[in-house]
Subunit: 143 residues, 4 copies
C-alpha cells in the first residue's frame, strides 16, 4: 500500500503491556488518530466534531508484523481505498520511523449515519469530493 | 481506612505497562469502577446513567504502595468520607486479594452539577440520605 | 457461531467515548479478557503468566453490529476455531446480557513463540490437548 | 506555577467518555507524556528506556478545573518542584491551547529504585545536575 498521507505517533508508556511491547488493541487507536489527522488535513473533521456529520466504525482489522516499544516513533500511513454509497474504507500501514520496519497493517470501514436516527445515509458529497480530489491527484507529496 | 463496601477487579493485560506492573493511571479507573459499583449497590447509579443526576470529578489522588501485576485480583474498598453542600468525598484502598498486601490508596472529590448548565448544585437529598444510611449503620458486613 | 464458554464484562465509563457508546478499539480488550478467562478455565493461563508459554497476537478483526453503552453488561462468547502448527484461531461474539442483542463479532490469531528468541514454535501439546478436549466434547454447557 | 517546559497533546476520541469530555484518569497519562518529553529534552530518558535508571510513581494527584473535548489541543506545562534524596517531585498545569483556559493541575512524586531489587536508591547525580541546571537557569524561554 502506498499512501500520500501519514502522521507520526510516539508510543506512550500506558500503551505498552507487561510483554514489553505495544498492546495490540492500541493499534486501533493509532489508526483512528491517523484517520482523524487525515480528515482534518482535508477540512472534513470540523463537521464530525460538531456532530453534523457522523460516521460509525462497522469493521476494523489489523495484522501485527513486528513489535513496537515505549518511546519509539511510529509513522502511520493512511489512505481511502474505496467510497461506497454509505461507507468509506480506510487502509493503514504502520512503520517504525527509525528504520522503516513494518509494524502493522490494517483496515477500517465506516458508515455515515443520520445524527438523529443513527440510520445509514449517503456519504456527503463534499466528503466524497474532497477525498477523491486528494487521493486521485498525482502521488507527488509523500508517496 | 475501614470500608463496608468493596469490589473485585482482575488486572487486564492492557492495564500493565512495559515495567511489568499496572500503569499507575489505571488506578483512577479502578477507583471509578468501585465507586460506580458502590453507587449501583445503593440504587444511586440509575439517575446518573440517565443523565438526570450528574457529577464531575474535581479532584483525584493516589498513593502507590506496591505493584500489581497481570491477572492478579485486586480488592477495591470504597467509602464516602464526607458529603458537603455540593460535593462528595470518596476514599479508596486497593489490596491484593491473594494475600491482603496494600497496593494503593486514594481519594476523589465529586461536585454535583446541573445537567443543563454544568453549574454546581446541591447534593440531591435522596443521594445524601442513601449514603448516610449506609455509612453510619454498624460496620457489620465487611469491616 | 456457537460457543461453550462465555464471560461477562460490564462497560466502564472510560471505555465509552464522546459519541456516547463504547469506543470500538475497546472490543479488542474485551475479546482479550474473554480469551484469558477461557485459558484460565482450561488451566492454560499459568504458564503464560510465568512467561514459559508465550504467544503473540498476529491478527485481530472485529465487526461492530450495534452500540453498547456505559454500565451495560456484555456477554463475550469465545471459542477456538482452529489450531495450526504454530497458531491458534479464536472466534468471539459479544451480546448484550439484558436482551441478547448482537453487539460485535471478531477473530484473533495467535502464534506461539520461543520466550528467548521470539521465533515461532509449535503449539505446546498440553495446550492443544486441553483445547481439543474442551471444544469437541458435547455442547452440553452453555451452547 | 510557571514552567519553562511544555508539550502539546491533542485529545484523542478514546480519551473522551460518554459525558462528552476527557475522562479524568487520562490526565495522569497526559502528565506522564509531558514528563517523558521533559526528560527526553534533558537527555535523561535514554537510561530509563534501557532499564538502567528506573523510577516508580509513588504519588499522583490532579485537580480538574474545566473540561476538555475531542480534538482540542492541550498544552501541558511541566517543572520539577523538588528533588529529595531518592525522590523527584513534578508539577503539571494543563491549559487549552486555543484560549489559555486552565483545564487541570497536578503533581506526581517518583522514587528512584535499583533495577534489580526495586529498593529505593539515591537520585543519580547526572539526573540531579541536569534538572537543576535547567530549572534554576533564568526563565527566559517559555515562562
Amino acid at each position: 500500500m502506498s499512501a500520500k498521507f501519514s502522521t507520526e505517533i510516539r508510543v506512550r508508556l500506558p500503551e505498552t503491556d507487561s510483554l514489553g511491547v505495544v498492546y495490540h488493541g492500541c493499534f486501533l487507536t493509532y489508526f483512528d488518530v491517523a484517520r482523524m489527522d487525515y480528515l482534518r488535513s482535508l477540512g472534513l473533521l470540523e463537521k464530525f466534531r460538531r456532530g453534523e456529520s457522523l460516521n460509525l466504525v462497522v469493521h476494523a482489522s489489523a495484522d501485527f508484523r513486528s513489535p513496537a516499544r515505549f518511546d519509539e516513533v511510529l509513522v502511520v500511513h493512511v489512505r481511502v481505498r474505496r467510497i461506497g454509497d454509505t461507507s468509506v474504507h480506510f487502509d493503514f500501514r504502520v512503520t517504525l520511523k527509525a528504520d522503516g520496519r513494518l509494524v502493522a497493517e490494517g483496515r477500517s470501514v465506516h458508515t455515515f449515519i443520520d445524527s438523529a436516527t443513527w440510520e445509514p445515509r449517503r456519504v456527503p458529497e463534499d466528503f466524497r469530493a474532497a477525498v477523491l480530489a486528494f487521493e486521485v491527484s498525482p502521488l507527488d507529496e509523500k508517496a
